[in-house]
Amino acid sequence: MLTERIINKAKRGNKKAFQELIELEKNKLFRMAYMYVKDENDALDIFQDTVCKAFLSIDKLKETQYFSTWITRILINSALDFIKRNERVIPLIDVESINSIQNLHIEEKMDLVEAIKRLPVDYRSVIILRFYKDLTIKQIAEVLESPEGTVKTHLHRALKQLKADLKKGCI
């Protein structure tokens, strides 16, 4: 495929080819970063970190068809690192949060993205990877470097929470 040629070029250090690859992924990457930090500046930080790391390690990418998954993994790790470094308080679904959720306006409650943002980071990752990036359980397990069983459990629980949060009908 055409992308494969570009990837191989990028692997050999071709800056332009690498840039082309990033162009294809940039929007999705940025949006995913945003889903973790809810702030444009922070998202750009994570994005920059991701692109830099990808540039430095692309020569190690073995299977070219997995470029997208590969760079997604880098992004998720960068996002998690960023959160750790900045000690952002990730809203956990605990008694307090449930109360606060109940106090939210209905419109906000209905907002899917907001609901996802309210998920704990691990659950958020599986939801984003499963439904935004359409990865299989196996691929998600690779990206998150987690066992498949854990991924399944997280996904299950994440969906449950979202359902409860959104009070939606059949999901």
């Binding site: 990033i22 162009e23 750009l44 920059q48 692109v51 830099c52 996802i116 935004y132």
Partner: protein, 340 residues
């Protein structure tokens, strides 16, 4: 069911606004950062080859060594002579600094190991106390000049028991007297003596005179007279003629080389194990690389080094020191094959 959810999620997440311009800029910054990080050690070889290629190309354009194009390219190459004509031999600096701090040390260097040996005189306890400070001071001086090729080793100096040899003392006194008288006497006839020295086995007195001086017989006569009149054991008198111009040239080039040597030997990136020079028949700088002739990049590397040395020697500061002497540079590989 899941598909619907998936579509919904996609639709929702894709609503997140993309700051186009900032995103583009971020990509550029990120790649730039990556390139900078890459440039360290791993890509030095590529950098050398690229620099060499660019340089050779510039040379083909027929520019002189001091053209602005060259200068610009040169600035990307490691350059030598950061201490233009300051005659700041790094060993001298280290010794001076340590003496200033009150340490009684003696520093010497060994080649091609490039080990700086610092001998500390005093007791074992004293040595242990001062060892790390001496190491730090020395390494800091090296670091300030980016000399990464040298290893500093601080050891306890063996106390040399210089027994006062009375016989030697006596002879030395005699000799000094002799020197003084000879000069005084010969001055009367307008004869200039450059240097006197005593050689042993067989014992002889050697006088160095300028090669413009022709009164050798006269000199010998007078010197012999002085020796006998002082009741000194008679010895051979030898008169050597010295080419003043060459002698002056030799000391000038020695001075030039001091600076060159310091940088070339001090930095690992030059891969030079030894530097020497001769002035016969013409000033020649000899550089010995630590690379074997079998290395595929060695020729380019040698050419590179030659250019760097030439650039230094042709710089403005060096003009007065070089005094238009024509010179040549020879670069050898580890296995003594001439590379340039």
């Amino acid at each position: 069911m899941n598909d619907n959810f998936s579509n919904e999620i996609k639709a929702e997440i894709d609503k997140i606004n993309i700051p186009e311009e900032r995103l583009e800029k971020t990509i550029q910054v990120a790649i730039h950062k990556g390139i900078k990080k890459q440039r360290k050690p791993i890509y030095k070889k590529t950098l050398y080859l690229c620099s060499a290629a660019v340089l050779l190309f510039s040379l083909f354009i027929g520019s002189t060594f001091v053209s602005p194009v060259m200068a610009d390219v040169m600035s990307k190459l490691p350059f030598i002579g950061s201490y233009f004509g300051s005659n700041n031999d790094v060993m001298k600096m280290i010794t001076e600094e340590l003496h200033e701090k009150g340490y009684k040390v003696n520093a010497s260097t060994s080649y091609p190991e490039k080990e700086i040996l610092i001998e500390v005189s005093g007791s074992e306890t004293h040595y242990r106390e001062v060892k790390s400070d001496i190491e730090t001071i020395s390494n800091n001086i090296l670091k300030a000049r980016n000399y990464d090729a040298y290893m500093v080793k601080v050891v306890r100096g063996k106390t040399k028991n210089i027994k006062k040899n009375d016989d030697v003392q006596k002879k030395s006194g005699e000799y000094q007297l002799l020197d003084k008288e000879i000069r005084k006497e010969l001055e009367k006839s307008g004869i200039n003596i450059l240097h006197t020295s005593i050689h042993y086995n067989p014992q002889k007195l050697v006088l160095d005179i300028p090669n413009t001086e022709s009164r050798v017989k006269q000199i010998k006569e007078k010197v012999n007279n002085i020796i006998s009149s002082n009741n000194i054991e008679s010895m051979q008198v030898e008169v050597r003629k010295v080419d003043l111009k060459k002698s002056e040239q030799e000391s000038r080039w020695g001075f030039i080389l001091q600076d060159v040597k310091n940088d070339l030997l001090g930095k690992k990136e030059y891969k030079i194990s030894q530097v020497g020079f001769t002035i016969e028949p013409q000033p020649t700088i000899q550089v010995f690389l630590s690379l074997p002739s079998s290395d595929e990049d060695v020729k380019e590397f040698a050419e590179n080094i030659e250019i760097v040395i030439n650039e230094y020697l042709n710089s403005d500061n060096m003009e007065s020191v070089l005094m238009n002497d024509s010179y040549s540079i020879i670069i050898h590989s580890k296995d003594n094959i001439k590379l340039n």
